[in-house]
């Protein structure tokens, strides 16, 4: 059976959920071989094996953290040369897409980004994508070289499928040009304790209607009652009420949770682009004419400062 390379997204060996989704999708095409760069391969290997990795190719070097993107491309290329896979799957993060893009150029292969589903096909893997602010769904294939495909979080439910997961060291030599962009310093983001926006099963977002940074705790309280991530519309971010890393929309994150709750968000195209594929959509807005109501499964026309706290209290009391 053909092997499929899966690029592992992890924090010091703690494998992030999108990678498990990738392993699950990879098994539809062939045998997953995980590529783990940086520290913690032995820790990661147990999880990777549980979700179907037959092998874990591991490399650790200071270059991965000291220079931007390119050293990781060198390593993924080395894995590609070692395995000759049927496809290369990479998580659709900002960095993942850049790694995949450079690999595609380097190995002379076509690339598809932001797939939301993947199936085996007679002429290679078929990727489903959501385009034009999720107004269209396309099915695409790579027609030259080895398909390089980046996959968005929440594209599949991770399924355990225990495999060997044998760790093998991957020899990587870094090209002279791979150390051109130095990471001079790195300031980690403070953890909010909430789930990652793109990976969360439930997202609660606030927009212009929240009317000030000082009011965002109302949104956060609802999110916390549901164990949800917090999002914000571009209007709220541009106004400086919430960090850009939480922006949902065309120039922010694109999310596809089981439940999306929009509070005080009108639903401009820029926002819809980032949340329209959510399974269930709920909105609270003062304006009955707001375009967001065209998308909802359930909508409440009303003041979010009355509705949201009441909802939060009700959820808390139901959960006991």
């Amino acid at each position: 059976m053909a092997e499929v390379l899966v690029y592992v997204d992890h924090v010091d060996g703690a494998v992030r959920k999108p990678t498990l989704e990738l392993l699950t999708l990879a098994r539809r095409i062939g045998e997953p071989v995980a590529v783990h760069l940086g520290a913690g391969a032995d820790t990661a290997a147990a999880t990777l094996a549980e979700y179907g990795a037959v092998k874990v190719l591991a490399a650790d070097a200071a270059e991965f953290a000291d220079y931007l993107v390119a050293p990781k491309v060198d390593a993924l290329e080395a894995a590609y040369r070692a395995v000759s896979p049927a496809a290369v799957l990479v998580p659709s993060s900002a960095e993942g897409k850049e790694i995949a893009a450079r690999l595609a150029v380097r190995i002379g292969s076509g690339i598809i980004t932001d797939a939301v589903d993947l199936e085996a096909g007679d002429e290679g893997p078929v990727a489903t994508q959501s385009v034009f602010a999720a107004a269209f769904t396309t099915k695409s294939r790579v027609t030259k070289g080895t398909p390089v495909i980046t996959v968005k979080p929440n594209s599949a439910a991770p399924e355990a499928a225990p495999a060997a997961g044998t760790v093998e060291q991957l020899a990587v030599s870094f090209g002279e040009k791979s150390t051109g962009t130095k990471v001079v310093s790195r300031t980690p983001r403070e953890s909010t304790g909430r789930p990652e926006l793109t990976e969360a099963a439930i997202v609660v977002s606030g927009g212009r209607g929240v009317n000030g940074a000082e009011n965002f705790p109302v949104i956060e309280a609802l999110a916390d009652s549901l164990g949800a991530a917090v999002g914000a519309s571009r209007a709220a971010v541009d106004a400086g009420w919430y960090p850009h890393t939480n922006q949902v929309g065309q120039t922010g994150k694109s999310v596809s949770p089981q439940l999306y709750i929009a509070a005080g968000i009108s639903g401009a195209i820029q926002h819809r682009a980032g949340m329209q594929t959510s399974k269930t959509i709920v909105a609270i807005n003062k304006d009955a004419e707001a375009p967001i109501f065209e998308l909802v499964d359930y909508g409440v026309v009303g003041d979010l400062f009355a509705v949201v706290p009441q909802l939060t209290d009700e959820i808390k009391s139901r959960k006991g």
Binding site: V11, L68, V69, A70, A94, K97, E98, A101, R102, A104, V105, G110, I111, T113, V126, V131, F132, A134, A135, F136, T138, K139, S140, R141, V142, T143, K144, G145, K177, G180, T181, K182, V183, V184, S185, R186, R189, H244, T251, L259, I269, T280, I281, I284, A288, F293, E294, D297, Y298, G299, V300, V301, G302, A306, V307, Q310, L311, D313, E314, I315
Partner: protein, 262 residues
């Protein structure tokens, strides 16, 4: 020697218009009004600020690959203050994918000459966000991408890249490829004077043969990917909408419970 800045820009269908696919499953660019991709305005803005910081000792060229109408995108950038423009236009380019586009841009950049390439973070149509990384790979120069702050000094580019896990301070020697996000700073509006001046600024036109690219390396035929199907997403079925009469939050909780979210 003055700094040669090249800003890559894309002419895209208006995102607020009714975007759809043509019969060959390429993006329909005929039936929808086009414009300079909003995210590229940030790249033009940063180029102008870098030039201003260098006391004007820089030359800004805007480069696009696209159909005849893409000239509108170049004019917009020139009216914002760029100095000159290069338009790669060829019938054989129709249907070119990101790999092909990066090939054409890379050849054009080598043809024009550059110290600093600045791109937007992604286009607002295809939205892959991969072209800047591909350009760095093809040109063999440092990739300094997704910056929300950028500065050029003493032959070096520095900037801040805000990722999900961390914020990174980056540094690279020129020549380099930079991309900037929509957090890098509001783009200026063209002034009346700028719009008038833009009409007189030079726009160089290049085709594939000028760049030594064969027609079969680009276009729909030369594409590395193919779209087999494109279907309009079915409209969401109309949901229940209630007016809050004091119990809106409780009604919503009831709905969430019925859907097993609580």
């Amino acid at each position: 020697m003055s700094l040669r800045i090249v800003v890559t820009v894309k002419y895209v269908p208006d995102a607020t218009g009714d975007r759809h696919f043509a019969e060959d499953l390429t993006v329909d660019r005929d039936d929808v009004d086009g414009l300079l991709s909003e995210l590229d305005e940030y790249a033009v803005e940063q180029a102008l600020q870098i030039k201003e910081a260098a006391d004007g000792d820089a030359e800004i060229t805007v480069l696009t690959v696209g159909p005849e109408d893409a000239n509108d995108a170049l004019r917009k950038a020139l009216s914002m203050g760029a100095d000159k423009a290069v338009h790669v236009e060829d019938d054989d380019l129709h249907g070119t994918d990101a790999l092909g586009t990066s090939l054409v841009l890379a050849k054009a950049l080598e043809h024009v000459g550059y110290d600093l390439v600045i791109s937007g973070m992604a286009s607002t149509d295809g939205g892959m966000g991969v072209v800047p990384a591909m350009l760095a790979e093809r040109l063999g120069v440092p990739q300094v991408t997704l910056l929300s702050e950028v500065k050029v000094e003493d032959g070096k580019v520095t900037g801040r890249r805000d990722g999900d896990a961390a914020s990174e301070q980056l540094e690279a020697a020129l020549p380099a490829v930079v991309s900037v996000t929509d957090q890098s700073g509001e783009a200026r509006y063209p002034s009346f004077k700028g719009i008038m001046a833009a009409k007189k600024k030079p726009v160089e036109s290049l085709d594939l043969s000028d760049l030594g690219i064969d027609a079969d390396e680009v276009g729909l035929e030369g594409s590395w990917t193919t779209v087999d199907e494109a279907a309009e997403r079915p409209a969401r079925t109309a949901g229940t909408i209630v007016k809050d009469e004091g119990e809106g939050g409780k009604q919503l909780a009831e709905f969430l419970a019925s859907q097993k979210f609580i």
